[in-house]
């Protein structure tokens, strides 16, 4: 940070516990007009999504763009996109916790909230994708009249277990992390509504020495469980494709490719959210340029892995001498959906290369624009994998083209609104920056400084 000169002085970490409390508490002060406008916009988008889904339920699944041979279209693209977004939350909160990477402390709450709300969004899509969503419970293994059980050899069932476990564990991790911070808010609350809200949600947390002992022990164990989950969930999602024989899907590289892509898109989404929140709530002293530099490096790494995976896909298609694979990978950059391919290549492989120029890693405006490019690029990556592969498989006679319907677009907009709505409500009612964990990395107040063992 040394080269930032005066900015460095402006962005020094807060010195006292009280300053951290008051900075975060300011975020939760009564909402402004801007917050209401943001919430109203999100609710409007949710309304568009709800209306679109209602139309699909009333008229039929034909209202979406899905049509033979493309039976997985915008909805599964959205599903994979949102599960991917969910990944970096757990990466930042659990994996970086185990590695004791202290830069995580300022951004992990935001990343975890993003994870939980993104999984809530992703979870809607398999239901929306079903023609008859009211039969969703058929996915669950429950005793029924026909003595019929789901097929445990199917990756689609693995997905049910993986995503529901991920939602449960990431929500647990998130809520447990919130408890001490909510207790701080309970002790500062001035209105009756907030007092009651935080008294109930803090569960009676007092920060006694026995509570901290069991809490820190449990938190470490949650991190230890959440870490293999990060790896497993998107691996399982990738097997939805890779276990099939469809050209473009049938690849052993998919699990690491998907996990890296998920972290890539998730870190980008953290930036997309953190940059405006930091600016609006003046969190420059808590979320510093150093944090953005660290996140930029994660983006550089994962962009490199993803780019390598794209190249490997092309190479294996060529080297396999399999005509179907070769045709698929010729079709991607030069076929009907060439625009989607090149958007993906530009946003995911080329644009992040700019981060090799160090000053851009701390240029907030540039990072915000780049993060949006990456979000778009990663949505198109999933579109390319899903729709392009299905529209151009073995038999030319059944090749097809995916036409987006208004219902597809409406539901996609609704998903962004749904996610935004939860984030907007969260930052106003709960601490979006982890107070306790930031205090933890500050030196504790000591009368005799030499007595401090660290």
């Amino acid at each position: 940070m040394g080269h930032h000169g005066t900015q460095e002085h402006k962005e020094e970490a807060p010195v006292t516990y009280a300053e951290v409390d008051s900075t975060v508490a300011k975020m939760m002060e009564p909402p402004t007009l801007g917050w209401y406008i943001l919430l109203a916009t999100c609710l409007l988008c949710v309304g568009v999504g709800a209306a679109s889904w209602t139309r699909q339920i009333l008229v039929g699944i034909g209202e979406s763009g899905k049509s033979h041979p493309i039976s997985w279209g915008a909805y599964i693209t959205n599903f994979v996109f949102w599960v991917g977004i969910a990944h970096s939350g757990t990466l930042i909160s659990a994996v970086l916790y185990l590695f004791r990477a202290k830069f995580r402390n300022s951004i992990y709450r935001l990343a975890e909230a993003m994870t939980v709300f993104a999984v809530l969004t992703a979870g809607l899509f398999p239901l929306i994708h079903l023609g008859r969503p009211w039969f969703f419970y058929w996915l669950m293994p429950y005793p029924n009249q026909m003595a019929l059980w789901p097929n445990f050899r199917s990756p689609l069932l693995w997905d049910v277990f993986a995503v529901s476990t991920y939602l449960t564990v990431s929500a647990t991790f998130f809520i447990v992390g919130l408890i001490p911070d909510v207790a701080i808010m309970r002790d500062r609350a001035k209105t009756t509504f907030r007092k009651v809200l935080y008294t109930v949600t803090a569960l009676g947390w007092s920060g006694s020495h026995t509570q901290w002992k069991h809490y820190t022990s449990a938190y470490l164990l949650f991190a230890a469980f959440a870490t293999p989950l990060v790896v497993s969930v998107h691996s399982v999602v990738s097997w939805d494709f890779a276990v099939s024989i469809v050209p473009g899907w049938h690849a052993t590289i998919f699990p690491p490719y998907f996990v890296a892509g998920a972290i890539f898109s998730g870190v980008a989404m953290v930036m997309t959210l953190a940059i405006p929140i930091r600016a609006v709530y003046k969190l420059e002293r808590l979320i510093t340029l150093q944090h953005f530099d660290a996140m930029s490096k994660l983006i550089m790494l994962t962009s490199g892995v993803v780019s390598y995976a794209y190249i490997t896909e092309f190479y294996t298609a060529w080297y396999s001498n399999n005509p179907f694979e070769r045709a698929q990978f010729w079709f991607r950059p030069f076929g009907d959906y060439w625009i989607a391919f090149w958007i993906m290549a530009f946003c995911n492989c080329m644009a992040p290369l700019a981060l090799w120029y160090k000053p851009l890693r701390t240029n907030i405006a540039f990072l915000f624009v780049l993060s949006i490019f990456i979000n778009i690029g990663m949505w198109f990556e999933r579109f390319n994998i899903i729709v392009q592969s299905l529209s151009h498989d073995f038999i030319p006679a059944v090749w097809g083209y995916y036409n987006f319907s208004w219902v597809d677009v409406g539901i996609t907009i609704g998903a962004f609104g749904w996610f935004g709505m939860w984030m907007t409500l969260f930052i106003k009612f709960f601490p979006a920056v982890a107070i306790m964990e930031i205090k933890e990395i500050l030196p504790p107040p000591m009368r005799n400084e030499h007595a401090h063992g660290h």
Binding site: W158, L203, T216, K439, A451
Partner: protein, 173 residues
């Protein structure tokens, strides 16, 4: 929240962690029961007040093993109950079932950890917090010492000597 031994408690409010630690050492030396409230967990404080390992991990391990067993048992028993051969795969396809076992291990292990944490932290319990002060979640440290009514003056004096900003005597539980 468990009670503290003694029908009175003396609450000391400290601005500095080392002062609070000295107060704990004094309470321990006199064989008195105590509780420390702090805004954050701290290794030095933990080593002084609760050096043993937390038993939460045993519950985690039990939950994880139960989850692994449940996941495999569910997949195997369901497959045997409705045997349907798909793509020439075995009825009991262990590689596929590993995913179910793996996810259930994590799910059950995490839920067991959560329940164990709640149990040992004695939450939810929104009412009984002996000697608690809202400042203890912000930037102050609290040392609450349990004693008999006759000892309150002596204990109060000791806490002040250790550097307490404020000392207050309350009824114990």
């Amino acid at each position: 929240m468990t009670s503290i031994r003694g029908n009175k408690v003396v609450v000391g409010v400290f601005s500095f962690m080392d002062d609070a630690m000295n107060a704990v050492k004094a309470a321990k030396a006199q064989g008195l029961d105590y509780r420390v409230y702090s805004p954050v967990p701290n290794h030095d404080l933990e080593a002084l007040t609760y050096p043993e390992k937390s038993p939460v991990r045993f519950f985690t391990a039990t939950g994880a093993v139960a989850g692994l067993t449940f996941g495999f048992a569910l997949a195997i028993l369901c497959s045997l109950d409705y045997p349907l051969r798909v793509s020439a795969k075995d009825i009991i396809s262990v590689p596929g079932f590993v995913v179910i076992g793996y996810e259930c291990t994590i799910l059950f292990g995490a839920i067991a950890t959560l329940l164990a944490m709640f149990h040992f932290c004695k939450v939810p319990d929104i009412f009984r917090k002996i000697g608690y002060d809202p400042r203890f979640s912000q930037d102050k440290f609290g040392v609450v010492v349990g004693c008999g009514a006759a000892q309150t003056d002596e204990v109060s004096e000791k806490l002040k000597q250790c550097g307490a900003d404020e000392v207050e005597v309350r009824n114990g539980l």
